[in-house]
Amino acid sequence: MNESICLLEAVNLALARALEDDPEVILFGEDIGHNGGVFRATDGLAKRFGAHRVVDTPLAENMIAGTAVGMASQGLRPVVEIQFMGFIFPALEQLISHAARLHHRTRGRLSCPMVLRAPYGGGIHAPEHHSESTEALLAHIPGLRVLIPSSPARAYGMLLGAIRCDDPVIFLEPKRIYRASKTLVEDSGAALPIDRCFTLREGAALSLISYGAMIPECLAAADNLAERGIDCEVIDVASLNPIDYDTLLASVSKTGRAVIVHEAPGKGGVGADISAVLNEQLWGQMRAPVMRVTGLDTVMPYYRNEQHYLPGVSDILDAVDKSLEAGRNEILQATGSG
C-alpha cells in the first residue's frame, strides 16, 4: 500500500504495522484509545486492535513510564505516549533511574525495550508548557536513545526501528510539522536505522546540521542559497543520542563550514555538543568557526511572542553569510601573508 501521508499519519501507520506484526507490542497513554490521541496519532488503532492493546490510562505520567519499564523488563514492547513533551517531567525518574540503566545494571540480564513518544516544539499557538523543546535534557542521559524524525518517511521507518530496538527510546515528534507536507510512504514494514544521520541535500559550500521542525527551515534556506550559487549540504541529525558523528565529520571535513540549527535554547543544547566534537576532530580543517542558530536562553514565550523566540530562515541565512564571510577573510589573510 503506497499513500501520500503526513508525518502524523506516518506515525499512525508505523504503530499499526508494529501492532500487526508483533503481539508483544502494546500501546498506552492518556486519551490514546477511543479518542485516538489529542493529535490523532493513534486514531483508529483501539478499534482495530482492541482496547487491551491500545489502552487509555489514568492521568499519571510517572505511572505510564514506570509501568512501561516493568512491562519491558518482561519482554513486552510497550509504546507509550506522553501527551506533550512538557508533561514528560513526572516520568523522568523512571526514565533516568530505571529505563536508561536496567540493561546496564543487570549486565544484560534484563533489558528495557520500550518506546516513549511525545510531540514537542513550538509554533502552533499552544497553551503554556505545550511548546518547549527540552530534548537536550534527555539526550544527556546515557542509556536512552533519543530520536526525532523530520519527514513522514523517516517518522515511519525510525518509529519501526525504535519499537524493534532493545533499548529504551524517546521518540520526539515535531508537532509543528505533523501535517506540514504529505509524501509517499510505502507501508513496507521496513525500519530505518536509528543511529544514523540522513543527508537530505548534498553540497560543498557549507554543512547545515539540524533536526525536527527546523529541517524544513534549513531546506528552505538551502534553496535560497542555491539561487545565489551556494550549494549547502543539509543533514538531519535524527538521532540525538547516540549521534552519528561519522556522517557529520565527513560532511564538515568536506565543506569546512558548519551551521547548526535547533529551536531549543543554545545553552547546553545538542548544537553545543555537535559543535564541540567538530572542533575537537576537525581543528585545522575548518574554514570558519562553527555557528549555531538556536532558540533563545529563556522560557519559551507563551504564544503571542513565540515567533520572536523561534529561529527562522532569515536567521539561518544570516549565520550562513557570517560563516562564508569568516572563511573569505581568512583566505584573504592567508593569501596576503603567503
Binding site: T57, P301, S314
Partner: protein
Amino acid sequence: MRETVFKTEIGLTHYLSADGEPLGELPGWSHEPEPLTGYYRWMVLARQFDQKAVALQRTGQLGTYASSLGAEAIDVVTGHLMTPEDILVPYYRDHILQMIRGTPMCDLLLYWGGDERGNASPGMGRDLPNAVPIATQTLHAAGVAAALKYRHQPHATVCLCGDGATSKGDFAEALNLAGVWHLPLVMIVNNNQWAISVPRHLQCAAPTLAQKAIAAGVPAEQVDGNDPIALHEVVEYALQRARAGKGPTLIEALSYRLSDHTTADDASRYRGPDQLKEAWRKEPLRRLRQYLVNLGYWDESRERQCLDEAQQQVQRAVEEYLSTPPEPVESMFQYLYAEMPDQLRDQIEMARVRGGGDL
C-alpha cells in the same frame, strides 16, 4: 479472631433537585434573597464570559481556551466564601473564581490570548497563577497552607483540581502531607466526569474520589457541584475548619463538563448526546434560577437586565483586550531572574529581529 479496626463513610450533600425544588429542609439563610441572587448574577456573567471566550477562539482572536461551562456554581460559591486573605491555588478551569477574587476579565483574556501579563494581574494578590501541568498545584497548595500555619495566620488555602488530577501522585502526596501536618487546606475536586476523553470510571476504581482523602486521614465530603446551597454549606464548613486550625478537608464536587475539554477538543468523538442532554437537565444556572423564581426573587425582567449588564461588561473587557498591544519583546528576558544577567541582554536584539518584529 478478626476485628474491625477502621470504618468510614462518605456523605453527599445536596439540597435542590435538578428543577430547583427543595429535597428536604433547607438551611435558614437560603430563604433570603442574598447571597443566592448574587451567586446567580455571577453565574450569568460567567456564562457570558465563557461564550464570548469560545467565540473569540473560533475567530482566531484567542488561543486554546478551557471552558468553565458547568463549573459555574463551584467557582462562584467558593469565590464568595473566600476572604481576601485566604489564598487561591486554582487550576485552568477557574476563570470565574479568579474574576471574583479580583482579576479583571481583560487580564483573563490576555492570559488565554497567549500573553503572560494575564498572570501578572494585580487583582491576583498572592494567589497562584493557574497550573497547566495537571495536579502540580496541589503540592503548591500544601506549601501555601504550611506557610500560613508557620506564620500563625488564621486563613485558609483553597486548591482546585479535576477528577483526572486525582490519579497523579502529586494529589496523594499533597493530601498525605496536609493530613500529617494538619494544614489549613480546602482541596476541591471538580469531578466533571471526564479528563479529556477518559471517563471517570477509567480514572479510578473507587466509588468516590473523596475517599482518597480518608487514606490520608483527611476528612472528605461529596457535594452536588450544581447545587449552590449545598456547595455553600460544605465549602463554608471546610473553610471554617481550616481557619480555626482544625485541619484540611477534601471536597469532591460532582459536576459535569458541558463543553468540549478545550476549544482544541471535539467531545463528540468520545461521548454520546444522551449523557450530555441529561447533564444539561441538571446544570447549575437553570436550577438556581428556578429556585429563585419560585421564591419570587427572580423574574423575566430581572433576567433580561442581568443578561444585558453581563453582556456589556464582557464586551468592554473584550474591547480592552483586543486593543492591548503585544508585550515588548524584552519581557521574554526581563523576568527570568530577579535581575537580568548580562549574558541575556545580547539576546534581546536577536529576539527583536526574529519574527520580523520591530517591537
